[in-house]
């Protein structure tokens, strides 16, 4: 798939995530975004860890919003002594967390499947400024390496001492921070090597570049892209009309079925 198609789909997911306002539709969007990740063939343990991390994000957001929701009207969902969990807060927390999860999964799918130089070429073709395009492509190139370095440092430390949790929170924090030292040093070395490699191979942002593998959308990508854009624009348009109606700015009686659809599904 052309990297521009991937970026366009990512953009669509971002727009849909802010347009949709129902947990069911956002949950469906999350599932759709998770599908490309299946192709990565990661081991079950990583799915489990990822699932737990996502679960923690959703649970944390739901709980905090449920506890501290202030907008009115609000109805209690659960009361335990002086603590009240608000029904509207729980829904709001669920929606917010699912928005985050959907964009996170879509971003992961694009980041893990697109070589940095292709991403850079796509961003430049989409007229993204050089600094931003280069930053994105370089981050994509180095973030996994940095993650691996951090894991290696933690593994090396673990063999020389007690588990990190067997100490005070302050000592734990200090230890975690100290482990960033070799990670930063390694990141700097990698950055220097990469910069040398790019420079010695003629990379120059101010010079024109050609492409040995020009970006080209395959025939099947056009309908996919068209459908995604139409779906996104449709959802955003319907959401806008609904917002205008619910804020009493614009009401069109013939659109009543649409208002009902948005209230029910979007």
């Amino acid at each position: 798939m052309d990297p521009r198609t991937r970026l366009a789909l990512l953009f669509c997911v971002g727009l849909l995530a802010v347009s949709l306002d129902r947990p069911a539709s956002l949950g469906l969007l999350c599932l759709l975004c998770a599908l490309p990740l299946l192709a990565l063939r990661v081991p079950p343990i990583w799915w489990l860890r990822g699932g737990l991390a996502i679960g923690a994000v959703v649970w944390g957001t739901v709980l905090s919003q449920g506890l501290f929701y202030r907008a009115l009207p609000r109805l209690p969902l659960l009361e335990v002594g002086p603590i009240t969990i608000w029904r509207e807060g729980v829904f709001w927390g669920l929606i917010q967390s699912l928005r985050f999860v959907a964009t996170l999964l879509a971003g992961l799918a694009v980041a893990t499947s697109t070589p940095p130089d292709r991403l850079y070429a796509a961003l430049r073709r989409l007229r993204v400024p050089f600094e931003l395009a280069f930053l994105a492509a370089t981050a994509l190139r180095t973030v996994p390496d940095t993650g691996r370095t951090l894991m290696a440092v933690r593994a090396a430390r673990a063999q020389r001492g007690r588990p990190v949790w067997q100490r005070s929170p302050w000592a734990w924090l200090r230890l975690e921070l100290s482990m960033l030292r070799p990670v930063v040093a390694e990141a700097l070395r990698t950055a220097r090597s990469l910069a040398e490699s790019l420079d010695s191979r003629g990379f120059d942002p101010s010079s024109p570049r050609s492409s040995g593998r020009p970006l080209k959308l395959a025939a099947w990508e056009w309908p996919v892209l068209g459908a995604a854009i139409a779906l996104t624009l449709g959802a955003v348009g319907m959401r806008l009309l609904f917002v205008l109606y619910s804020s009493e700015v614009l009401y069109i009686p013939s659109l009543r079925p649409l208002y009902g659809f948005v209230r029910q599904w979007l």
Partner: protein, 515 residues
């Protein structure tokens, strides 16, 4: 093709120049080796020749660098890539693309080549360096040697007539390194000027035309390979090819050619009588998303006090075996006692502010006396660096600090992953000698057969994740399976044929001279 006239460079924060008064010329078709001890300024010369420091370095330059009559530092990168190609030490850090084709095409795209010309040029370059003509093949699937050859193809793709390489053999197994050197020789024969910085003289020397020696920032001259001053190389701590070194020593003592019968000292083979520390039963390991197992059906037992070398090619599973033997508990592995592994990049094991804190970290965590740390520091000769920041030390010092910090934890098993990688010979020898007395089981993964034979009491040879040989070092010479990319060093074969005990060239020469 390359001319350096009185070239010097001082880094911004340094008081003394890193290099000064360097004069060197490399002609088309010539392969020149630039060598010298760690930190002598070889890499700085290479970067000056590549025009990289002139463009990005903010230090003080002097002298003149010319490539085909033009100063590379004054050229735009897209113009420079048509003159000079540069390959650095670690291939993993240089790859910028996801496929072979994109990687080679990168410099062509930088030069705004027509897309119609890029495809055929990419295929021609892949063919020239002996890689499969599969431009869509992923770079992740390449071995270390293949990656380095890909880097050479990428560096020369835009038609550069000068190729500069900074320790390209450091991370390669003997077969990968020999292949790369043969490739460089072919390129030189086809008219490319090649300047190579390298420590591994045993592999590089047979292929080069001239050798340039550097010490303390100054070039001591560039001479034809056969005129190399071996005495001076030894004085600089360079590791000469063993047999060449021995021949030179014996010639000096008027004992060459040496044809007498062997001294026939019995080879010491320490028996593995200690208690079992680790045992595995059909241990297998597969990395996520990998097609094949990195380790397959490994069954072995390690005993206290053993010195075990793990030999094998790049990707044969050496590091994985070390990680499994010293890592988290598994069902197919039983382990007694504490194990500490020093990673291939020792910097990843250094996280304290000073060397002193680094050494004390383990003992303090385990509530052991500080004296343990001091002893480890003394054993590895880092006790004079206690107030220094580990990251600011030389590469060899950082390795010794990491090993001393591991030793200070009083491990039952100490594992070293490729301790020779990117290190000069003297550093590794000193460290291995210090570890000979360490009261633990020593495991070390290496490509260096010579090192394994001299410092191990047992050798495991891995091939494609399987143990193909588990024997005492003396048996390695006779039982090494065919087809493995491990070469028995000529000095070892020479000693074995004459019934001499194994050793460094200096040790063997001393024994012969002593009669």
């Amino acid at each position: 093709m390359l001319e350096l006239h009185e070239v010097g460079y001082r880094f911004p924060s340094a008081t003394a120049p890193a290099v000064s008064g360097v004069n060197l010329a490399v002609k088309p078709g010539e392969l020149v080796l630039l060598t010298g001890p760690t930190g002598c300024g070889k890499s700085t010369v290479l970067r000056l020749a590549a025009g990289l420091l002139a463009r990005h370095g903010s230090g003080q330059h002097s002298g003149e660098v010319l490539v085909a009559g033009r100063a590379p530092g004054d050229l735009r990168p897209a113009q420079r890539v048509e003159l000079v190609g540069f390959v650095a030490q670690n291939p993993n850090r240089q790859v910028v693309s996801g496929t072979l084709g994109d990687e080679v095409a990168f410099s062509l795209e930088s030069g705004a080549w027509s897309p119609a010309l890029i495809g055929p040029r990419v295929l021609a370059m892949l063919r020239a360096v002996g890689l499969p003509e599969e431009p869509k093949r992923g770079t992740d699937a390449l071995s270390g040697g293949e990656r380095q050859r890909l880097m050479v193809a990428a560096a020369l793709a835009a038609g550069a007539g000068l190729l500069l390489l900074d320790e390209p053999l450091a991370h390669l197994d003997p077969a990968g390194a020999a292949d790369l050197m043969a490739l460089l020789r072919r390129l030189a024969n086809s008219g490319v000027a090649v300047l190579l910085v390298e420590h591994r003289l045993g592999i590089a020397l047979p292929h080069v035309d001239r050798v340039a020696l550097m010490a303390e920032g100054r070039l001591e001259g560039a001479v034809p390979r056969d005129d190399l001053d071996l005495q001076r190389c030894r004085a600089l701590g360079l590791r000469l090819p063993g047999l060449l070194d021995l021949e030179d020593r014996l010639r000096a003592a008027d004992r060459w050619p040496w044809t007498e019968a062997g001294v026939a000292e019995p080879q010491p083979e320490p028996a593995a009588t200690g208690a079992p520390l680790v045992s595995t039963r059909s241990l297998s390991f597969r990395y996520p998303r990998a097609e094949t197992e990195a380790l397959s059906d490994v069954s072995l037992e390690l005993r206290a006090g053993e010195r075990i070398a793990i030999l094998g090619a790049n990707g044969s599973g050496k590091s994985t075996l070390l990680a499994c033997l010293t890592g988290p508990r598994r069902k197919d592995l039983v382990r007694d006692g504490r194990s500490v592994r020093v990673p291939q990049d020792p910097d990843l094991a250094l996280f304290c502010e000073t060397v002193g804190e680094e050494l004390l970290y383990g003992p303090q965590e385990m509530r052991r006396p500080d004296s343990v740390a001091h002893e480890a520091g003394r054993a590895l000769s880092v006790d004079d660096l206690l107030d220094r920041a580990p990251q600011a030390l030389s590469r060899g010092q950082r390795l010794r600090v990491a090993v001393a910090a591991a030793l200070a934890c009083e491990p039952d098993i100490l594992a070293l992953d490729e301790p020779t990688s990117g290190q000069d010979h003297d550093q590794v020898e000193r460290m291995m000698r210090a570890l000979a007395e360490a009261p633990c089981t020593l495991l070390f993964a290496t490509h260096d057969v010579d090192l394994a034979l001299r410092h191990a009491s047992r050798v495991l040879v891995l091939d494609a994740g399987r143990i193909v040989l588990d024997a005492p070092p003396s048996e390695l010479l006779h039982r090494l399976p065919d087809g493995l990319p491990l070469a028995i060093p000529p000095l070892v074969t020479w000693c074995a044929e004459r019934g001499l005990p194994l050793g460094t060239a200096a040790e063997v020469a001393a024994r012969i001279e002593a009669g």
